[in-house]
Amino acid sequence: MIRVLAPLPVLLPLVGAAAALLVGGRHPRIQRTLSILVLAAVLTVSVALLLLADADGAAAVSVGGWPVPLGIVLVVDRLSALMLVVAATVALGVLVFAVGQGAADGDEETPISIFHPTFLILIGGVANAFLAGDLFNLYVGFEILLTASYVLLTLGGSAPRIRAGITYIVVSLLSSLLFLAAIGLVYASTGTVNLAQLAGRLAELPDGTRLLLQSMLLIAFCIKAAVFPLSAWLPDSYPTAPAPVTAVFAGLLTKVGVYAIIRTQTLLFPGGALDQVLMWAALATMLVGILGAVAQTDVRRILSFTLVSHIGYMVFGIALASTAGLAGAIFYVVHHIAIQTTLFLVAGLMERQGGSTGVNRLGGLAAASPLLAVLYFVPAMNLAGIPPFSGFIGKLGLLEAGVADGGWLPIVLVAGGAVTSLLTLLAISRVWSRAFWRPPAQAGGQEPVSAATGDRTAARRAAWQRHTAVATATAPVTDGLGPDRERQRPLRPLPRVMVGSTAAMVVVTVGLTVLAGPLYGVAQRAAEDLLDRGPYISAVFGEQEVP
């Protein structure tokens, strides 16, 4: 059963993308329905895979029927199935949000005939990376998702998006080339790229060679995962994209890098030769990232910096290389994918409602739109790790694992993690108190209009200012617009589909808290499998001797 289902998360989005492209712009309604159905199917298959993998253990499929070490294998174990489920969930939520936005905007911001196929290909690439059983297929998965992400990031081709896109593309290309070179060296020294076979053969190499291969792969993955000092590209490139695109990038793409780090560190390079380096990198990622977030005044950029910062927690868990540490890291990945996506969707709604993402320009959102305030508050507290949310559970697990380790460096990291958590609370509560809590009259216009905002946003902003001025009867708005213009552009309510999908995502993040027990159980078992390595290798090779 699991063998029949395993290729579907890759196959369905790719076939769906082709179909969506054929349907094209002529039948946008069919295209939308098709994309949503495909992602719903992927989600169903992923849930089935997780249940099967958790019950029966890992399984592998040889694509094309080649004997095992020769052909491409797709491997489903608890970790990859869990990642698939979360990825499919946020992808579905974001797609519904994008459909809502496209319907409300008349498709100007997301040219829909390109958006849907590209989005599906992105998900296909992500699924391929999660399921890949050999290094080169992992590379291909990365390339598929990266190429799709280049297109999504530069959608519309406006000047800020092109600028951001170029930085992103060049950095991604560099990491991909490094990865490819590492694959070449791995093949030269071991004669295989199959992960399960590499697990045995890499152990036979001299220490120096193994260390070189490990550090090349780690650097390549750390660029993708945005681990400091390889993280500077992320806050530059993510915030300019359309809201749904930023949301899915922030949630998924860096986590694919984290997944690759987990997989290679546990399966290929056990023994922890670089764990100390990873710990320092994790500490620097947490602190530098969150200090960046505190310095920012734009909601999306604050969120981008917290994204970088919280990658540090996951790297910390990986570097601990204990069952508790890995389990914490896996749970934190799951939590963070959902939470970061949700917050970026909320930021999209805030921009829509307030006409800006600058916290100095926003004000009074809580009074005008209480639902939006709730939608921001719940995931924001979750991100900061306030009990009883899943962020708290994940962080607690990681910090406990750090204390249990006993060394002085993990203790330093535990302290760093606690500080980061507090600073996260500071950064996001600043957004809360300025954008939502303070009276709109205090919101100054001292910030120049960001290059990313266009005419449409300016109009929304003007409508918002008039609305709040009337609602609170404070200072009159002097934005230089005549009464005619005022009548033309009233404050529009937020589109129901967008609010609905964001609310559904918030429910999912709260659901992670409710289901934290079973989820942590799966993460625990996945971590045990990873450290044991036996289940993965025997899933690929079965009874036969590993050649």
């Binding site: 190429t147 081709g157 600028r163 170029i166 593309i169 060049v170 490819l180 694959i183 060296l185 920012q296």
Partner: protein, 175 residues
């Protein structure tokens, strides 16, 4: 086949030239650097296959005499990916040229604004103190210069859309 020193030298040379070009601000050079790096990596993959031999076709050569087919398959895949991304990069460069009439990596405005808020390094960051080529396309000076060029072009080539790429280069030298 005996080990050859030519292949490592070529790979190293390509990597060096590729990295050098990639660090340039001109996007066309970045693209060329990426192509060189891609080819260097392909050669690295080729050399990973070990000694060369006959074509790996059953019936044409004995298995002992064949060269390793797997790196060749990997290289083919890598070439296709490099090709596709190079095409996309070209499109992006062209788009960037149309938008701001220059094809260099630009400075992030938001970064600059955040940096400007701290007073200590405000002098360093002030765009007016920067060399003209380091100023962003959104800088006020650039707008004026662009407007000048647009006016002159409009006089010289009346009737031709101003962002048509086939126009002769303007007299303004940016770099």
């Amino acid at each position: 086949m005996t080990p050859t020193v030519v292949l490592p030298l070529v790979i190293g040379g390509l990597y060096a030239a590729g990295v050098h070009l990639l660090l340039d601000r001109s996007l066309t050079r970045v693209l060329l650097g990426f192509l060189l790096l891609g080819n260097a990596t392909n050669l690295l993959l080729l050399s990973a296959g070990g000694a060369s031999g006959l074509a790996p076709i059953l019936g044409y050569a004995e298995p002992e005499e064949m060269s390793d087919p797997l790196p060749q398959a990997l290289i083919l895949t890598a070439i296709v990916i490099t090709f596709g991304i190079a095409a996309f990069l070209l499109a992006i460069i062209y788009r960037s040229w149309r938008l701001v009439r220059q094809e260099v990596v630009e400075v992030d405005e938001e970064d600059r604004r955040v940096a400007r808020r701290s007073e200590t390094d405000a002098d360093e960051i002030d765009p007016d103190d920067l060399a003209p080529e380091d100023r962003s396309a959104m800088h006020a000076d650039t707008f004026d210069a662009d407007a000048d060029v647009e006016r002159r072009l409009a006089r010289q080539y009346a009737g031709i859309p101003s962002d048509d790429v086939d126009l002769p280069p303007t007299t303004r030298r940016r770099r």
